[in-house]
Amino acid sequence: MTDVMHNFELFQPATLADAQAILGDHSDAWVLAGGMDSLDWFKHRVKQPAVVVDIGNIPDLHGIREEEDGGLWIGATTTLTEVNESEAVKSRFPILAEAALKVASPQIRNRGTIGGNVAQDTRCVYYRDGFPCYRAGGNTCYANTPTAMNREHALFEVSRCVAVSPSDTATALAALEGVFVVQRGGSQQEVAAEDFFIGPDVDITRMTMLEPGDILVGIRIPAKWAGSRQYFEKVADRNAWDFALVNVAMAASVEDGAISDISIVCGAVQCTPRRLSDVESLVRGEAPGEELESLVKRVAARGAEPLNFNHFKIPLMENLAVRAIRSLA
C-alpha cells in the first residue's frame, strides 16, 4: 500500500562535483536516478531521507561510449531502454541488451537506469514492507522461519539474511566481467563485479560496496567477451514486471568444437550474482553435447541449501545452466 511521499529537499545538480558537494553536506542524502526503486521506498515510508539528490542532469554520467580497446563504457544514468536499443551493446554484448530488455516493463525501462538497476536494494518482501529484520538493523530474519514465504529467497551464501540479488543486468554484467567506476571522495575507483556486489557476510545492510556519498559513475565492459558466444535467460512468474526466480548469463568462446573459455553466472540464487565456477572448470576444454550437459546438471547447483519454499530453484538453476551450455553446441 502506498502513501504520499514524506517531505524532502530535492537537489538537481548539473555536475558530478556539485553532486558530491551536496552529498558531502548532508550525511543522509539519497541518490536518485530513475527513481523506480527509490520512490517505492519513499511511498511505503520505509526510507525517509531528508535530502534527495537527483543525478539525472549530470551529462558525465550518461551515454554509451566505445572504448579504444573494443570495450564499452556505459554511464550510470543511461536508461535500460537506451542500453537495450544500443547497436554497440547489441553487437558486442547481446546478453546485456537482452537482460536490460527483460527488466520490469517498457515504461520502467524508459526511466530506470542501469546504475539504479545494479544498485537497487533487495526485493525481500519482509524487508520492503518495513519489518525490522537483520538487514534493517534488527535481530531476526523473517524470511527464514518455518512458516515464512521464502519462495524467492536464496540457495547459497546465506549469512543470517536470505535475500537475493534482484537485478537482471547485474547477472549479465558479472558474466561479462564488467568493471564498476565509483566516485568516492575526490577519486575514482574501478571495482570488479565480484567486489562491487557484496553479501550479508560483508555488510548485511548493503547490496553493493557503495557507501553513503558514493556515486556510481559508469560501468566499463572490457573487450574480453565482445562478440563471443553469449546466452541469457530469465525465468519469472510473468513476462513483464516480475523479478527473476533465477536468471543465467553466459559468455564463452569455442575453438575447434571445444569450449576454450567461459564465464557463467546465475542471479537471484544468492545475495550477489553467483559465478558458477564449478561449471566453468568442468566445461573448459570439453565439447558441448549431451554427455557434458548431464555433468553440468549435476554440478550447477551443488552446495545449494534450500529453504522451505524454494526447492524448485535448484532444478531451475540446473536446467538454465544446461541450456546455456547447449547453446554452444
Partner: protein, 226 residues
C-alpha cells in the same frame, strides 16, 4: 512544521491560499477547495492506507520555504498537452498527482501508484513513462502529453482511439487512458508493428479486465489507418 490531526471526513478541509491568476487569467484549478465527497474520501483512504497520509498530502503545500538555495524551487513551468502552466509543486510530488490534482486532467489514472500497472502512463517527449513514479520536478523541461492531448485540436479522435472503440477494447475502461497513450507512442515509433512487437510495447499496461486481445486488435487496426 504544521502538525496534521486525524482527518475528519465530515468537514471540508480548509482551502489553500487564494487562487493565483497567471498566464491569460486562467485559474489554477488546484486551489479550488475539493469538496470531500464520500467518493473522494473513500479514494483518499483507499489510496493512502492511513487516513493521516491522505490529509498530509492535501496540506503538503504549506511546508516552510527551503533554506538551501541550491535545492529546487517550488515554482515550476510545466508543459502539458502543449500548454505551459506555472504552478507550485513540492519536490516530493509525483507527476500523476500534479496532472490530476493541480491541472485537473483526470484522464490519467492512478491504479497502483508504484509502477506496476500502467494506468498512469503519459508521454514525456515521445517516450512512455509512469507518471506515478516520476517526480514532477524531473520533467520540468520535457513536453508532457496525457490522454487528453491525444485527440486532435478539433476533437477528432486519434486512429488508436477510434480503433479501440471499433474493437470494443475497453471493458471497465480504467486502464484505457494508459493503453491509448502507450499505443500512440508505439505507432509513432513503429507505424507498422507486428503483433509480437505490439504485445511487447504494450506489456507495461495491465488490464484487470483482461481485454488485452481487444486492445491488440485495436492497435493492429489503427496501424492500418495511420
Amino acid at each position: 512544521m504544521t502538525k496534521y490531526g486525524p482527518y475528519d471526513p465530515t468537514l471540508d478541509y480548509a482551502p489553500g491560499p487564494a487562487p493565483t491568476r497567471k498566464g491569460g487569467g486562467v485559474e489554477t484549478p488546484s486551489w479550488k477547495p475539493l469538496h470531500m465527497s464520500r467518493r473522494n474520501f473513500l479514494r483518499g483512504v483507499v489510496c493512502s492506507g492511513v487516513v493521516i497520509g491522505g490529509s498530509a498530502y492535501l496540506f503538503s503545500t504549506t511546508t516552510p520555504a527551503r533554506s538551501d538555495t541550491r535545492a529546487v524551487e517550488r515554482l515550476v513551468r510545466l508543459t502539458v498537452n502543449g500548454r505551459t502552466h506555472s504552478i507550485e509543486v513540492p519536490p516530493n510530488e509525483t507527476l500523476a498527482h500534479t496532472i490530476r490534482y493541480r491541472l485537473g486532467l483526470t484522464g490519467t489514472k492512478i491504479g497502483c501508484n508504484q509502477g506496476e500497472c500502467g494506468a498512469c502512463t503519459v508521454l514525456a517527449g515521445d517516450t512512455t513513462i509512469y507518471s506515478c513514479s516520476t517526480l514532477t520536478h524531473r520533467v520540468r523541461e520535457v513536453d508532457i502529453t496525457t490522454v487528453e492531448g491525444i485527440a486532435g485540436p478539433d476533437g477528432a479522435l486519434h486512429p488508436v482511439q477510434q480503433a479501440f472503440i471499433d474493437e470494443i477494447a475497453p471493458q471497465c475502461g480504467f486502464c484505457t487512458p494508459g493503453q491509448v497513450v502507450t499505443a500512440v507512442a508505439l505507432l509513432k515509433k513503429n507505424p507498422k508493428p507486428t503483433i509480437e512487437e505490439a504485445r511487447l510495447a504494450m506489456s507495461g499496461n495491465l488490464c484487470r479486465c483482461g481485454a488485452y486481445d481487444h486492445y491488440l486488435r485495436g492497435i493492429m487496426k489503427a496501424a492500418e489507418r495511420v
